[in-house]
Symmetry: C2
Subunit: 206 residues, 2 copies
Amino acid sequence: MEKTVSPAIIKRLPRYYRVITHLDGEGQTKVSSKVIAQLMDITASQVRQDFCSFGGYGQQGYGYDVKKLKAELENIMGLNKRHNMIIIGAGNIGRALAGYKGFGDGFKVTAVFDIAPEGIDLKDVQVLPMSGLKEYCAENKVDIAVIATPRSAAADVAQAVVDAGIKNIWNFAPTELDLPGDVVVENISMSESLYVLSYYMNRQEG
Amino acid sequence: MEKTVSPAIIKRLPRYYRVITHLDGEGQTKVSSKVIAQLMDITASQVRQDFCSFGGYGQQGYGYDVKKLKAELENIMGLNKRHNMIIIGAGNIGRALAGYKGFGDGFKVTAVFDIAPEGIDLKDVQVLPMSGLKEYCAENKVDIAVIATPRSAAADVAQAVVDAGIKNIWNFAPTELDLPGDVVVENISMSESLYVLSYYMNRQEG
C-alpha cells in the first residue's frame, strides 16, 4: 500500500483524529462521512476520498465504525507508539513545550538542552548543556528534536541535532531549515496563524 | 473586489509573505512565479492563480515586482496596521507569547490577564486580574484576544472576551470554540503539527 498521499490530506489527518476522538468520547459508535464533513467544514465527498486513499475503511451507506477509525488514524500517524522528544532551547517557548500536557501519552519530553542551563529548573524534565547533546543522543533513544531557539541559532542547532543522529525535527524557529533529504522537518509557524487571523479581521473591517 | 477567496489560498498568504520578505531582504527586485513556486513547494500555475484571485499584480513573462508584492500582501493581511493584543492566561504558553518578538511591529501585547495574577511578573507587559477584563476593554482599544488557558477554561474565557466586545480571537487552547458568527476565531494547534511530523516519521520507519 505505498500510495502517494498528498500533503493536504496529511494535514487533515490530525483534524479527523480530533473529530473522531470527540465523537468516541461522546459514546458514538457509527458516523457518516456527512457528519464528519460538517464537523470539519469540508465536503462529504472529500472525506470519502481521503479515507479511500488510506485503503478505505467503512462501507458507503453504512457509515464508519468510530473506534476502528480512531485506531486506524492512530496507527497511520504512529500515535500508538512511544516517541521520545528533546527540546533545544530553554527560553519561553521551550519551557512552555516542556510543561505542555496536551500531546498525548505517545510523546514524552525526556530532556531540554540549552547553551546556558545553569539556574534553569524545570518541573519533571532535566535541563542539560548543549555540549552534552551528542553523548546524550548516543546513550538514549531520541526520536524527535524540537528546535525552540531564536532564529539566529536555528540552523547551527539543526545541524548539531542531525550530527547527533536525530532524523525528525519539529521546528518552532521562524526560519526554513536546509537539511539532508532523509531528515523529516515539520515547521510550526505562529506568525502564519496570526496573519491568517489578521487577514480575516482586515476583510471584516474593509 | 468582493471575491470569495478560498481558505486554502488564505493559508498560503503568510507563506508567500515570508518568501517575498526573504527575497526583498536579499535585494531582489523582480521574481517569477516559478521561483516563488519552488521556494514554496507548489506549482507556478498555482502561484499565478492565487495572485490572480487578489486582483493580479504582475504581468506574465515580466515577473512580479518584489517590493510591490510585499506591500500588497501586507495590505491584504493588514500587517501595516497596528493591532493591540491581550493574552488571557499567564501560564507557560501565555508567558511565551507575551515575550515573543517575532510577530512584527503591527502586533503589540498590551496586557496579560489571569485569574491569579499575584506574583506573576512579566517584562514590559502588565498582568491584570480576569475580573478587570471588561473594564480594561472598555477603556483601551483591544483588537485581538489570545486564549492561552487550559482546555477546561477556554469556553468560559472566550465568552467573557466576546462579552467584553472583542471580535477577534486567537485560540491556543486545544478545543473548538462555539461563538457568534461575527467573531473571527483562528485556532493554532500544536498537536496537529506534531501529529503531521509523527505521520512522516511513521511512514519512514514502516
